[in-house]
């Protein structure tokens, strides 16, 4: 048999072993050609009497199949023409037909899962009658589709609930959970977990023991585990599930609602009609700009940036083996921890040994947490901590490849440590500053080699935040940029590259969100409405809650400095006065003190807005349209991102969109602020800005770049996008 993606081995017992081995890729993908292969296989399986049964496995190390080929899918994404709708629908129905043929031939089909099976890979396995997985901690099983605005489209929404019930199936698919083999077996998704050496033998033994096989859902007496939508427990699952979905997603994510609908509607009919329902929802999601934007930003662009798309290709790779971290506070310690975890030797320096040690201790505590969660072993803890040397001696920095300073945000303090380090480090060492507020070009001037000086801005908490914002100073040389990117990749974070500006890119755009929230409160809009509008916009927290978490005092300091230094004004505006009244009059600086705009419990969780703050005003406005507030909160951020393009602070839409979502949690369903503008269209966005500007003030005035794009029907991804971006 001639197959593009599989090896065919028909053994003496009549069992065919089909080994998936996609050409030129480290993992298998359920591509269109793989589906065509499986169609041929299913056909032959049904007809050829010499075949007793089938075992499907993979030749890739630790991988059965990583899912559908998203690049193939991206061709259709967000282009809802009648032709592409039909082409995509036919494509999905062909997948269903193929898998149905495989599971209804009557002959036993076993999946021998040698590793990870995600999305279409897991769906391939679910179309087999038996699933045995190898006992390998690296293996992952799950449906990541929901994370990029899609739904499982190769039968997942129908087979999973029919296998394990809607109650287990829904959160598994809605939250795109990834689980290991043991948990998958516990849930009933796979039948058995065996050591690597026994995998194929076990699958073959099962085939041998079963002359014929069918799926439970093709059995006439089939009952949905836990009952259908109108059983007592099923009614609970959907009624409460709908509410929980809105609670968690604010109904901003059409794919999650579509998954719920597929399961609900699908369980009211037989599997074949259920699969048709799934295909219709899948194509609907694929045509929605939400999936196009999410695939582009959260998959394609992130992958490209992660591979070093923004790296100067002329520079040789810089392998950071030794890192010096100046300042063992929360940020410095976090940077030391993630670097040591990547096998980098870290010299962690602070002014006293006690402080330096406490930084290392922070890393130890993070590792203890990992151990408690079963994500690390005590041996790994010892190994990782052995990479961190806590000291006060600058001399220890002599052989480092990269320095990262994370000391107090004060130019003189920073200049002090930069000078001390410069005096000992080697010529090739690159100097990175983790400043979030001070201009890089200015700091670089305090160094003896500004061309090796670069901003490497981490986000807090370092161990959880996946973004690093790399800032080029006026004199930063390509090698320093290459080193910063290579280092970021080594610690498995995503780098974006921006140019020097007050607040760089992320802090600057993010600041507009909290600022706009404060303005609403100053306008007299009742604070819960402002907070809920922020959350409903898709931001992780309301503007006031986020101010609390950053520190209202910190925000006040930045606002004050900007007023004096940039706007040369002596009069604080209402928003600054609001923060000052909280910080200075009420002594409520934010989450760290247990009180800010909110009162916090011991665990730092926001309890309720501070009642006295709410009591300050009797006639709060409760009638403001929440949709208008949501629009204001999103537009003000997107507009700032557009200004960053015009000023050259940011130059690549991938940096802008990925940086916004990973850096400050900008509404992920939009694909980022630039995708948000492009999806609306520059013309509509400019009109919206003009309306908002007239209603709320010139801060909403569209800039020249946007007006130009509106006039020319242009968009950001076309004008600024790299050719490789979709």
């Amino acid at each position: 048999m001639k197959l593009e993606n599989f090896q065919w081995d028909h053994d003496a017992d009549g069992i065919v072993t089909l080994t998936w081995d996609m050409k030129g890729r480290p993992v298998n993908l359920l591509s269109m050609s793989a589906v065509a292969d499986l169609g041929q296989v299913a056909e032959t399986l049904a007809k050829d009497v010499t075949i007793k049964g089938l075992v499907i496995t993979s030749a890739k190390d630790g991988n059965f199949c990583a899912g559908a080929d998203l690049e193939e899918m991206a061709v259709y994404a967000g282009k809802p023409s009648a032709e592409s709708v039909k082409a995509a629908f036919d494509l999905m129905m062909n997948v269903h037909k193929t898998f149905r043929k495989l599971e209804t031939s009557g002959k036993p089909v076993a999946a021998a899962l040698n590793g990870t099976a995600l999305g279409g890979g897991l769906e391939t396995a679910l179309s087999c009658h038996y699933r045995v997985a190898v006992d390998d901690a690296r293996s992952q099983f799950g449906f990541p589709e929901g994370q990029v605005g899609l739904i499982p489209g190769a039968g997942g929404t129908q087979r999973v609930p029919r296998l394990i019930g809607a109650m287990g199936a829904l959160p598994f698919m809605l939250e795109s959970r990834r689980i290991g083999a043991a948990e998958a077996a516990g849930m009933g998704l796979i039948h058995k977990v065996v050591p690597q050496a026994e995998l194929i033998a076990d699958a073959k033994a099962w085939v041998k023991a079963n002359k014929s096989a069918g799926q439970p859902w093709d059995n006439r007496d089939f009952r949905i585990p836990g009952g259908g939508p109108f059983s007592t427990s099923g009614a609970q699952v959907f009624t409460v599930g709908n509410a929980m979905l809105r609670q968690k997603t604010y109904d901003n994510y059409p794919a999650q609602r579509a998954i719920m609908s597929c399961v609900y509607e699908g369980l009211l009919v037989d599997i074949d009609n259920g699969l048709k329902i799934e295909a219709r929802y899948f194509v609907k999601m694929l045509m929605n700009p939400v999936s196009r934007n999410m695939i582009r930003t959260l998959f394609l662009s992130m992958q490209e940036l992660g591979k070093g798309a923004r790296r100067p290709q002329t520079e040789a790779p810089v392998d950071v083996k030794r890192l010096g971290v100046l300042g063992a506070g929360l940020m410095g310690a976090g940077i030391a921890y993630v670097s040591a975890s990547a096998g980098i030797d870290v010299t962690l320096i602070d002014t006293t040994q006690e402080r330096a040690d406490s930084g290392k201790d922070h890393a130890a505590k993070l590792l203890d947490k990992q151990i408690a969660r079963g994500k690390a072993t005590p041996e790994e803890k010892v190994e990782i901590l052995s990479h961190i040397t806590a000291t006060t001696e600058y001399a220890a920095l002599k052989y480092v490849d990269l320095i990262l300073e994370a000391v107090f945000e004060d130019r003189d303090v920073k200049a002090g440590v930069i000078g001390k380090a410069d005096a000992v480090i080697g010529d090739r060492a690159v100097f990175g500053s983790n400043t979030s507020t001070l201009p890089i070009s200015g700091l670089a001037e305090t160094s003896t080699r500004p061309e090796s000086f670069v901003g490497i801005h981490f986000f807090s908490p370092v161990e959880r935040m996946g973004l690093v914002e790399i800032i080029l100073g006026k004199k930063t040389a390509p090698r320093a940029l290459a080193a910063a990117i290579d280092f970021t990749r080594k610690i498995k974070k995503t780098p974006i590259v921006v140019n020097d500006s007050r607040g760089f890119y992320t802090s600057r755009c993010f600041g507009t969100y909290t600022q706009e929230g404060l303005r609403m409160v100053a306008e007299g809009i009742v604070p819960p409405l402002v907070e809920n509008a922020g959350r409903m916009a898709g931001m992780p927290m309301g503007p006031l809650e986020v101010l609390d978490s950053v520190g209202v005092d910190t925000a006040l300091k930045i606002t004050r400095a900007a007023r004096k230094e940039v706007f040369k004004s002596e009069t604080p505006d209402e928003t600054e006065a609001l923060m000052a009244s909280l910080v200075e009059d009420a002594q409520r600086p934010g989450t760290k003190a247990g009180k800010g705009f909110y009162d916090y419990d011991e665990r730092g969780k926001a309890a309720r807005l501070w009642p006295e703050f709410l009591a300050r005003k009797k006639n709060w406005r409760t009638d403001a349209e929440v949709q208008e507030l949501i629009t204001r909160l999103l537009v003000i951020q997107a507009l700032e991102a557009a200004r960053c393009f015009e000023e050259g602070v940011i130059t690549d839409p991938r940096d802008a969109d990925v940086g916004a979502i990973l850096g400050w949690g900008f509404a992920p369903y939009t694909g980022g602020p630039i995708s948000y503008i492009d999806t609306m269209g520059a013309k509509a966005f400019v009109a919206l800005c003009e309306r908002l500007s007239a209603a709320y003030g010139p801060r909403f005035a569209p800039n020249a770049l946007l007006k130009d794009m509106a006039a020319n029907g242009d968009n950001f991804y076309r004008r600024f996008g790299a050719k490789s971006a979709a």
């Binding site: 939508p229 109108f230 009614a235 959907f238 009624t239 409460v240 599930g241 709908n242 509410a243 929980m244 979905l245 809105r246 609670q247 604010y250 109904d251 609602r257 719920m260 609908s261 609900y264 509607e265 009742v526 604070p527 819960p528 409405l529 907070e531 809920n532 509008a533 409903m536 309720r608 807005l609 409760t622 929440v626």
Partner: protein, 401 residues
């Protein structure tokens, strides 16, 4: 257009809606049948004159399923020519049945119709008929479905009704109901449920707790806080984002009781009445149903009352007595505030908090209660209204003649 007159109204007593309740042993069909028999017998009705029997039922499945109205017509041995139809306007079904009956008569297409309703909540559990509204994600999520108790708490939160406010209302409802029973005000309409041997199974509303006071209510935990924590509070807040958190004030003691019961109302044209020698007790002045925002769900009584008052060319001041279903205390408090109705003119003999709310039957029951009380006080005009699931309201204005 013809006038429509109400000639009589009967109801069963309301049995507690659980297996300890007196009516639990009685089928829903039997409850409906005894109401039909009672209205026939006390009016010496030749049932061949009836054009239709319309019964409300909210969970029309199982023994209440597949047109219980026709089943009751047959069991009561009405003439074969009398059809029956079961309708469902959720909690207002019993009143809607009467409105539809009135519509047939006023349009001249029927002369004599029975409207009413039945619900054996102890035997067919609330929600037993399923339905897309809470479950289908394509509806429940965009339309912000929450259970009614959450809606009631949402009203209390938005309108600032405290726990004391709603509890005080409940205490008053119990007091009024107990006083009304003691004085025999319900006697005219309540027909005891009997067994085949002629023994009385139940002759009074057994859900009442006349001893209820603020202290006893204070000990009850809010009933819907747990539902809220499951995610429904968040849904309500996303629909009404001006609030930070819901104030959960409702519990079993200030919400309508779950009970069993049935009711029947005889409506007809003037000609039909005189032909059969019936004495008219009231005239239907106007009726209507209306939809409202479905998440808060229970605010339509005011909307539909304004509509029906306008249709009748009246204002709220022209109404002598109001009956509004006490689904939850906050629903009634909001209604009184919106239409500026004093409690002295509303639910003067208590309501569903004390007496119970047999879903499909209640509307017809409180219509009868209203007419009885207008007669007893020798007043003229009355308005009856109910809030309804999924955001609706139904009302009727009657006038003694």
């Amino acid at each position: 257009m013809s006038d429509c007159f109400i000639y009589d109204a009967v109801r069963t007593p309301r049995g507690r809606g659980k297996k300890e309740g007196a009516l639990h042993e009685v089928t829903a069909l039997e409850l409906a049948t005894q109401s039909l028999e009672a209205i026939r017998d006390r009016n010496s009705l030749n049932t061949a004159e009836l054009d239709d029997v319309i019964l409300g039922c909210v969970d029309p499945v199982g023994e209440q399923g597949s047109d219980i109205a026709r089943a009751a017509v047959l069991k009561a041995k009405f003439a074969d020519t009398v059809p029956g139809v079961q309708i469902n306007r959720f909690c207002a079904s019993g009143l809607e049945a009467c409105n539809m009956a009135a519509g047939q008569i006023m349009s001249g297409q029927s002369d004599l119709v029975i409207g009413g309703g039945v619900e054996s909540m102890s035997r067919v559990k609330i929600g037993a008929s399923g339905g897309a509204w809470p479950e289908d994600p394509s509806l429940a999520i965009p339309a912000y479905f929450v259970p009614q108790g959450i809606s009631a708490d949402l009203i209390a939160t938005l309108d600032g009704f405290s726990r004391d406010d709603v509890d005080a209302f409940a205490v008053e409802s119990q007091k009024r109901a107990a006083a009304a029973w003691k004085s025999g005000y319900f006697k005219n309409s309540v027909v005891p449920v009997t067994d085949d041997l002629g023994q009385v199974i139940l002759d009074h509303d057994e859900h009442m707790r006349p001893e209820t006071n603020m202290q006893s209510l204070a000990s009850l935990k809010p009933a819907f806080a747990d539902f809220g924590a499951m995610g429904f509070d968040a849904v309500a807040i996303q629909r009404y984002p001006q609030i930070e958190a819901l104030n959960h004030v409702h519990h079993a003691g200030n919400s309508s009781g779950i009970v069993d019961g049935a009711a029947a109302v005889l409506l007809g044209s003037e000609e039909a009445g005189s032909k059969l020698g019936l004495k008219s007790r009231a005239r239907v002045r106007a009726f209507a149903s209306i939809g409202s925002e479905p998440c808060i769900m229970l605010t339509a009584p005011a909307d539909v009352s304004r509509r029906v008052l306008k249709r009748a060319g009246m204002t709220a001041n022209d109404i002598d007595l109001f009956e509004i279903n006490e689904a939850f205390a906050s629903v009634v408090l909001r209604f009184m505030r919106e239409l500026s109705v004093p409690h002295e003119k509303l639910n003067v003999n208590g309501g569903a908090i004390a007496l119970g709310h047999p879903l499909g039957a209640t509307g017809a029951m409180i219509l009868g209660t209203l007419i009885d009380e207008l007669e007893r006080r020798d007043l003229t005009t009355g308005l009856v209204t109910l809030c309804i699931g999924a955001g609706m309201g139904t009302a009727m204005i009657v006038e003694r003649v």
